[in-house]
Amino acid sequence: MSEKVLMKGNEALAEAAIRAGCRSFFGYPITPQTEVAAYMAKRMPKEGGIYLQAESEVAAINMVYGASAAGARVMTSSSSPGISLKGEGISYMAGADLPGVIINVQRGGPGLGGIQPSQADYFQATKATGHGDFHLIVLAPSTVQEMADTVYDAFDLADTYRTPVMILADGMLGQMMEPVVLPERKTEFTPKPWAVTGTKGKRPHNVITSLHLQPEDLERTNIERYERYDRIKATEQRAEEYLTEDADIVLVAFGATSRIARSAVNKARAAGIKAGLIRPITLWPFPTDAINRAAETASAFLTVEMNMGQMVEDVRLTVCGKKPVEFFGRAGGIIPTPAETLTVIERIAADLAGGAN
């Protein structure tokens, strides 16, 4: 067991990636993600790995494509505008079934936006990171400890399912310092017989491509990929449930916002309102099982996000009209407070009580 250390979210994530066997990092600096790249620049040479600051985000993601095709455990990181630039390369990776880890330390948008924390890239991460039929596995840490733990798992998930995995963090988690126990160094890795590592005249060529000009071939790759997605949906859903068993009002929040929602739940409980919290850890696959269970017993849902209302759509899709689903959020880099979240919970509680009378 490693000792507990005090680290910044971005740095804990970078160190955990190295311990997970990542020896290739290609990136480009952008606030509030820069410390990931800075830490990698410092550590990679000592680990015998590759750190390269590319000339752009587009170049970086294509280097990730190349390294992944050669079987490397590879990562890139950026913040919101940079992830948009990487979108094309991520789609190519999905099309070529290449594993890789992409970090998004989100900031406010759209456009250049700002540099304060945000969760406004939920749609982009879970629905449309790039063109074509594909999904990423999307993990949402909520503490510095989870910044380390989720990236550590992400490499294995990527290799197991041959898909890019995204860590959807935000500027708050990236910049905050918390105690963290770093994971042990990984020594066993998933074999990659598909990688292009040179045939040495002993086997047929491996081909990595996302180009399939015959529609029948292309459809077949899509169907195969979606069968894999079904397996991921069935086995990899993760969510944390807090006081949901007897909750009337179930909050749904991920990442940094879940910490605020948890405080609001505690305040609501102290005020006699039965509130609970579901914190999706996998945003894709969305934890529909946990939400569905809660929809049987709860009276209402409240989604809290640092955006204008994105994950709330997935909660509504899952709840499917069975119960009302409300939304509260702040955007542009403003962090919602527990007090204003509590005000919304109290209003919903009053509405529910009014409806009962």
Binding site: K8, T31, P32, T34, I115, Q175, M176, M177
Partner: protein
Amino acid sequence: MPRIIVDEHYCKGCSLCVEVCPRDCIALDPDKITDKGYHPAVLTDESLCTGCTNCALMCPEVAITVER
């Protein structure tokens, strides 16, 4: 006279120092933007600073030097 010096390479504008300053003489400089894009902390009134080091102890980036 006691005063503080903020290393703007490390300051991330979290404003924890602003919160803990008992003399209310630290603020985020609205006119300045660091290389990373943050408004850095700045001592607003040198005559108020007592060199108590609250800000330096609180700073998560160890970006503040106190002279007294």
